[in-house]
């Protein structure tokens, strides 16, 4: 059954391959600097490597936005996103996969009555804006750097052609790697906790279950590249922005750098080590990033060559894509739940009793406004939200904290499950040892497991004195989320 569910993720992978490869190789193919076959081969190899080797970074941020907790829901969310992308791509306009999936996830939040974490949404949306602007700035700087070399340097036209071609291949490969790393989270990220694979030992080299899932996602991207990306490449390279090979190289370099910045954990750690604030690891839109680069170059050249009407259309698609995905997801979830009778979200219960209210108090929140909910059970987050008077007494983040404490989420510690799913390598040896000590222990709430584990130093949150501590805590939060998804133990099981 899970393989059928996985199909929609693979469909999304296909649409990513068809759509986003054009942003990297479109100009190179359209200016005939590279043959489509060569571009497709390079893209396939490096998207694959990026997805498998560095793909885990941005998935956490997406998870915080909306934790799609049922396989049927994950299937439908991915399907809605893929359908949206396919529909828009058919009009010849490139669309953002990241924005589409975010639209679909918010659709799921609404359908399942969950509160959308505006802070995470803001992080994601602001990263899109930052990525767009950053890409424009990098492209403009590169343009200033390369212009004198082209205009005043003494490189033979034919040699310049060879170097540009090589640059398009190398940077294209880097871009494809970054795209794979940055966007695989969109494709199979939602399936990570429910992966059906087991670790595969290939004689000295172990392929983890998650990596196998990423490989499958990467293969679907490759199929997308070979079957449909040529058309999008033509649109991107010819109709939207006709670039010369050298400007194409500049734009793609800026794009690859930005995608890498938002995907690399290594770079994030490096920024921290030199005392700079890190950028969030978020799946950004390669479409927006390349458009940002082209606009950056266009502005440096005086702004005359920018085709504003087409840019307007592309930008319109940025707004339309998440909205359409939201609507599609909502309708599809309704159909999948009511017609096909599949579970699209876990029925979660929220209880307010002595234990949960004590915990809320412990978190430093004012419990005097909780009298209306004390002793009650709720089936939906929205009901709790309304009962507590919206944001009258509590801010949205406080409300989310309260809901999280009240949420009944039965858990049973089962480290074998972590090992089987290949998720053990996400934790340190000491963390695993602490988990083993709790083997088979059951918890009713997530925070209970969190509190119990926090007694061990390897699971303790740090005081947020700087960015490094903040990042450490974020990673710890992701690790806890992984535990919650893996150890979920409904009473009927």
């Amino acid at each position: 059954m899970i393989f059928i569910y996985l199909l929609s993720g693979l469909f999304l992978g296909w649409s990513l391959g068809a759509n986003d490869t054009g942003n990297i190789f479109g100009a190179a193919v359209e200016t005939r600097m590279l043959k489509f076959k060569t571009a497709a081969l390079i893209a396939s190899i490096f998207i694959f490597l990026g997805a498998v080797l560095e793909g885990s970074g941005p998935s956490g941020t997406l998870g915080r936005l909306g934790s799609v907790d049922a396989l049927g829901g994950a299937f439908t969310v991915a399907l809605a996103a893929a359908l949206t992308i396919t529909a828009i791509v058919r009009t010849g306009i490139p669309v953002s996969t990241s924005q589409t999936i975010v639209g679909a996830i918010i659709g799921w939040n609404y359908f399942s009555g969950r509160l959308t974490d505006y802070r995470s949404l803001l992080t994601i949306v602001s990263s899109w804006v930052i990525a767009f602007v950053l890409s424009g700035i990098i492209a403009a700087l590169l343009f200033y750097l390369i212009r004198p070399i082209i205009n005043r340097g003494r490189i033979h036209l034919l040699e310049q052609d060879v170097y540009t071609r090589l640059g398009l291949i190398v940077i294209g490969a880097f871009g494809a790697f970054s795209l794979g790393a940055n966007n695989i989270a969109n494709v199979v990220g939602v399936f990570v906790p429910v992966t059906p694979f087991k670790d595969l030992n290939l004689g000295g080299f172990t392929l983890s279950a998650v990596q196998q899932l990423y490989i499958l996602g990467a293969i679907s991207i490759i199929v997308g590249i070979y079957t449909y990306s040529q058309k999008v490449m033509r649109t991107v390279g010819k109709d939207i922005f006709h670039l010369s090979p050298v400007t194409a190289l500049i734009a793609v370099t800026a794009e690859a750098i930005v995608l890498f910045i938002f995907a690399s954990r290594g770079l994030q750690n490096l920024l921290l080590s030199i005392g700079l604030p890190p950028l969030p690891l978020v799946p950004v839109s390669s479409t927006q990033v390349i458009v940002g680069a082209v606009v950056g170059i266009g502005l440096v050249k005086g702004g005359k060559n920018i085709r504003y009407n087409i840019l307007g259309k592309v930008s319109l698609a940025w707004i339309a894509a998440p909205v359409i995905a939201f609507v599609f997801a909502f309708i599809a979830l309704f159909i999948v739940q009511n017609v096909f009778e599949q579970t699209v979200f876990q029925q979660t219960v929220y209880t307010f009793n002595r234990i949960t209210i004590q915990q809320i108090e412990k978190e430093g929140l004012d419990t005097s406004h909780l009298s209306s909910v004390n002793g009650h059970r709720f089936d939906r987050e929205m009901e709790v939200y309304k009962e507590l008077g919206g944001e009258k007494y509590f801010s949205r983040s406080e409300m989310l904290k309260i809901i999280r404490i009240a949420e009944v989420y039965p858990l049973q510690v089962n480290t074998k499950l972590l090992l089987d799913k290949g998720l053990a390598n996400h934790f340190s040896q000491k963390q695993l040892e602490a988990l083993i000590k709790l083997e088979n222990r059951e918890f009713k709430h997530k925070w209970q497991l969190e509190e119990t584990l926090s007694q061990d130093p390897s699971w303790q949150k740090r005081k947020e004195l700087g960015e490094r501590d903040k990042l450490y805590n974020q990673n710890l939060e992701e690790q806890f989320n992984l535990l919650f998804r893996t150890f979920y133990f409904p009473p009927s099981r």
């Binding site: 200016t31 043959k35 205009n151 005043r152 033979h156 036209l157 040699e159 010369s244 090979p245």
Partner: protein, 214 residues
């Protein structure tokens, strides 16, 4: 890298050889006219043979370069421009040859008093072609320098026009048969035209430079 650049370097050599022929042709043209004006007809015919040979080689090189550029899909963005430059430049060599062939066929009688002005016009046209060869070479290797050479080509073209006009006025002021006047005017025009062809190539070249610039 050396392996990747092997084909490129080979075509670069061919383009250079083609431009060497253009430069040689302009010098040979100048020397041939000088020989003709000084009645060294045998030497003039040798120079003509040399230019014929040059023209053949230029044609072969041009075709070979074009084939390479298309077969290996090199410089796709500039290929059309480069081919147009090579074809137009080749026409300049053809015109030099045609002009000398006409001299060889018709053997026009040029009065000695016109020798100096005739030679000056020839030198201006030949200089325009010489500067054209520098301009085209720079288009490939040193984009910033092209406009300087284009400027020189325009200068020599104007000079050739000016001298050519003076030459024609002098021809028609002379006390010779109208048929001879008409024939000499035709040859004077022919020499002047060579610089015009060089100018046409430069007109295109200046646009291609803008296209190539970032």
């Amino acid at each position: 890298m050396a392996l990747i650049l092997k084909t490129t370097r080979f075509i670069e050599t061919q383009i250079d050889a083609f431009l060497d022929i253009l430069s040689d042709s302009s010098t040979t043209f100048e020397l041939a006219i000088e020989d003709y004006l000084n009645n060294r007809i045998d030497q003039f015919e040798n120079r003509l043979a040399q230019i014929r040979e040059n023209e053949h080689r230029a044609d072969d090189l041009r075709v070979s370069i074009e084939r390479f550029l298309y077969e290996r899909t090199l410089i796709p963005e500039n290929r059309g421009d480069v081919l147009a430059i090579l074809e137009n430049t080749d026409e300049v060599i053809d015109n030099i040859k045609d002009s000398l062939v006409q001299f060889s066929i018709e053997l026009p009688q040029i009065p000695n008093c016109l020798n100096d002005l005739w030679m000056q016009t020839t030198k201006s046209s030949s200089n325009a072609v010489e500067q054209l060869s520098f301009a085209v070479r720079s288009f490939f290797r040193d984009l910033a320098a092209v406009n300087n050479y284009i400027h020189k080509v325009y200068f020599f073209e104007r000079e050739a026009d000016h001298l050519g006009e003076r030459l024609r006025r002098e021809i028609f002021n002379m006390d010779i048969e109208l048929s001879q006047k008409s024939q000499l005017r035709y040859f004077a025009n022919h020499i002047e035209k060579i610089s015009d062809y060089a100018q046409v190539v430069c007109d295109r070249l200046s646009i291609y430079v803008i296209k190539r610039q970032l």
